[in-house]
């Protein structure tokens, strides 16, 4: 039995296709999202600042902009036309020009700053205008001698911890990696074994079928463990993701999910006849789950009727649990419905696989 497990692990790591889905594919996503949304990334993009005024107000505005994490402020460009050129070449998202004498205490001093923007870059425009309006409103109040605005928003976050989109998507990538590698590798692997008659050959030996299947599952769990470790390490230390939950709970949830996805792989393998069909069926199942299961965006923004269906997809409750653990440090037992859905799927898949999956034909 030990020999079978060791051989299975050896094969798992020698299989380049599987290694790609298991390690490279999720890494690709981690880096992609890490660079876009990770700690070092700025949501507002690059903004060119040309400050021609040296009044305290202008200096203060420049400092506030530079201190702000929403934009990356570039003061290297000093010429308006050069700024326009940079925006057209997509090297900068917008340019802010503070005219000479802006904020000076004299009546003919300019009262307006100029923004050159790219209409295609709506996010930057919204954030920049919002930021400037807020700043100038406060400035106006101060100039008028009023202490702060009368009406304001009292923001209460459901989660008081510091979080960003990358933290949200990292948990998604974790689930995606487990799902893709497990479903595809079991479905394709088992079909290939059947095509090569390895399953049949094993039936002629005294080796018990369920030992064989246990070996296949365990060896992949070793790979899953590695996947989770790599994704978390890179997310945490390269892109400074925030991980608040208990690391053991995260691993336990991930491996539970991996078992479910492997069983799904067995279900596919028990229905398809060829390796190609297995590949197709596995892709047909994983791609919709990737988008509808909440990997990249919260699924409660979907139309209500669609949400009421997709919230039960196998990956959805898994991601909900992993997220509440990673982001809030909550226990998965806080919302036992998620666990119930997962175990429900496990029971269903196990039943179908036991009923349909055969090592050899009749």
């Amino acid at each position: 039995m030990l020999k079978l497990l060791l051989s299975d692990i050896k094969m798992t790591f020698r299989n380049r296709q599987y290694a790609f889905w298991a390690i490279m594919f999720p890494l690709l996503f981690t880096f992609m999202f890490g660079f876009f949304f990770g700690d070092k990334a700025t949501t507002g993009g690059n903004v060119i600042l040309i400050n021609r005024s040296d009044t305290p107000i202008a200096k203060n505005l420049e400092q506030v902009l530079k201190d702000n994490s929403m934009f990356k402020i570039n003061t290297d460009v000093t010429d308006e036309n050069a700024a326009k050129d940079q925006i057209q070449k997509n090297k900068a998202a917008a340019a802010l020009i503070i005219p000479p004498d802006f904020g000076a205490m004299k009546s003919d001093a300019p009262k307006q700053v100029k923004v050159i923007d790219d209409p295609g870059n709506a996010t930057t425009n919204t954030i920049l205008f919002g930021f400037l309006n807020q700043y100038f409103t406060n400035l106006t109040f101060q100039s008028a001698g009023i202490k702060g605005p009368i009406y304001s928003v009292d923001e209460e976050k459901t989660n008081p911890k510091e979080l960003n989109y990358f933290d949200f998507v990292l948990a998604g990538i974790l689930g995606l990696a487990l799902m893709n590698s497990s479903i595809i590798s079991i479905a394709v692997g088992m079909s290939k074994y059947r095509e090569d008659k390895i399953l049949k050959r094993i039936t002629t030996t005294p080796m018990k079928t369920w030992w064989f299947i246990t070996g296949e599952i365990l060896s992949r769990l070793v790979m899953n463990f590695l996947q989770v470790t790599i994704i978390l390490l890179i997310g945490r230390y390269l892109f400074h993701a925030h991980i608040y939950g208990n690391i053991f709970v995260i691993y336990a949830l991930a491996l539970l999910g991996a078992v479910l996805f492997q069983l799904l792989g067995f279900v596919i393998a028990s229905f398809v006849k060829t390796t190609d069909a297995a590949q197709g069926a596995a892709t047909a199942i994983t791609i919709p789950m990737m988008f509808l299961g909440g990997v990249f965006f919260p699924i409660d923004t979907l139309p209500k009727w669609l949400f009421s269906i997709v919230q039960y997809l196998p990956i959805a409750p898994l991601l909900r649990m992993i997220r509440s653990t990673v982001l809030e440090g909550a226990s998965p037992f806080v919302n036992p419905v998620n666990l119930a859905i997962i175990f429900g799927w496990i029971v269903v898949c196990l039943a179908i696989a036991t009923w349909r999956f055969r090592l050899s034909e009749e």
Binding site: L4, K200, R201, P206
Partner: protein, 305 residues
């Protein structure tokens, strides 16, 4: 002689289709028993029912004294070695690793080196199956079925798709296995292979056994056990007529100077040879009928590849 496999009234049905239609045969200890027939004759289905890979519709199978009609017990599986038709092995393990792994499934097993040496694959010990040639793969597949030092070896079409030289190599290998005292049951659709290798054969067609017995006796028992093949430029109408009276004569494959005769008796054979020799033939071969002749006689057709 001790019977190691006994098959009685074996039937396998798939819906309305009867793949194996009530066949019975025994395999004796130490012999090579061949199931001969075309693709679809039911050979593999029969073999796989004995191996425990397919369920029986009805009938009884006994292997080494154990009833395996409802699937073999581990005790039986320990003593049989199976090579499956056109099977492959694990892609990502070396030959040695595969043999060690399969060996670990059994209580007793032979070391990988010893097995690979038999099939001359010692230098490929650390190669993957994908790097072997067709003949090497097949040799490996056969030797992998010997990993538990079995008493009975099942070989399903062991030489299909191989070139003639690789096929002969495999015949030597199978003969070696027989010499170790093992019983071999194999399927084939190559007449020559069955003739060379098998002590006894059962000719199968459409799920039934048409004829069974010792290979040489079956051939001798054909209606025309003698065969003459000769090449001569001139053969007059008269002489052709005389020959035709002694047995069946035909032009071979459209060559006007190449003839083949099938004869019933030794007397006729002698007479025909006399007539032909007077023609000073370029070539004259006298032989006995082959298994192929018997097969054509039984089924009315030759096996197409």
């Amino acid at each position: 002689m001790e019977k190691v496999i006994e098959v009685k009234d074996l039937v396998k049905k798939y819906g309305n289709f009867t793949a194996v239609d009530g066949i019975s045969f025994d395999v004796n200890q130490g012999e090579i028993f061949g199931l001969l027939g075309e693709n679809g004759a039911g050979k593999t289905t029969t073999l796989e029912m004995i191996e425990g890979l397919r369920k029986l519709s009805s009938g009884q199978i006994t292997v080494l004294g154990q009833d395996v009609s409802k699937g073999p017990k581990n005790e039986t599986k320990e003593k049989i070695g199976v090579q499956l038709q056109s099977s492959a092995y694990y892609q990502f393990l070396t030959l040695k690793e595969i043999i060690d792994l399969f060996g670990s499934f059994y209580q007793k097993s032979l070391p990988a080196d010893q097995l690979l040496k038999i099939v001359d694959l010692l230098d490929k010990t650390n190669s993957m199956v994908g790097n072997l040639s067709g003949g090497q793969k097949q040799r490996f597949s056969i030797v992998a079925s010997l990993v538990n030092d079995p008493e009975i070896v099942f070989l399903d079409e062991p030489t299909t798709g191989l070139d003639p030289l690789a096929r002969r190599n495999l015949w030597d290998l199978i003969t070696e296995i027989k010499k170790k005292g093992k019983t071999i049951i194999l399927t084939t659709h190559y007449m020559e292979e069955a003739e060379v290798l098998c002590d006894r054969i059962a000719i199968m067609d459409k799920g039934k056994i048409l004829k069974m017995g010792e290979t040489h006796k079956l051939i001798e028992g054909t209606k025309n056990p003698y065969k003459i093949s000769f090449i001569t430029e001139k053969l007059s109408q008269d002489q052709y007529g005389n020959l035709a009276k002694l047995g069946q004569i035909e032009n071979l494959a459209g060559k006007s100077n190449h003839f083949e005769m099938h004869l019933k008796t030794q007397v006729n054979l002698n007479k025909a040879v006399d007539i032909i020799q007077k023609q000073n033939p370029e070539s004259l071969t006298v032989g006995r009928a082959s298994l192929e002749d018997l097969f054509i006689e039984l089924t009315g057709r030759a096996i197409k590849e």
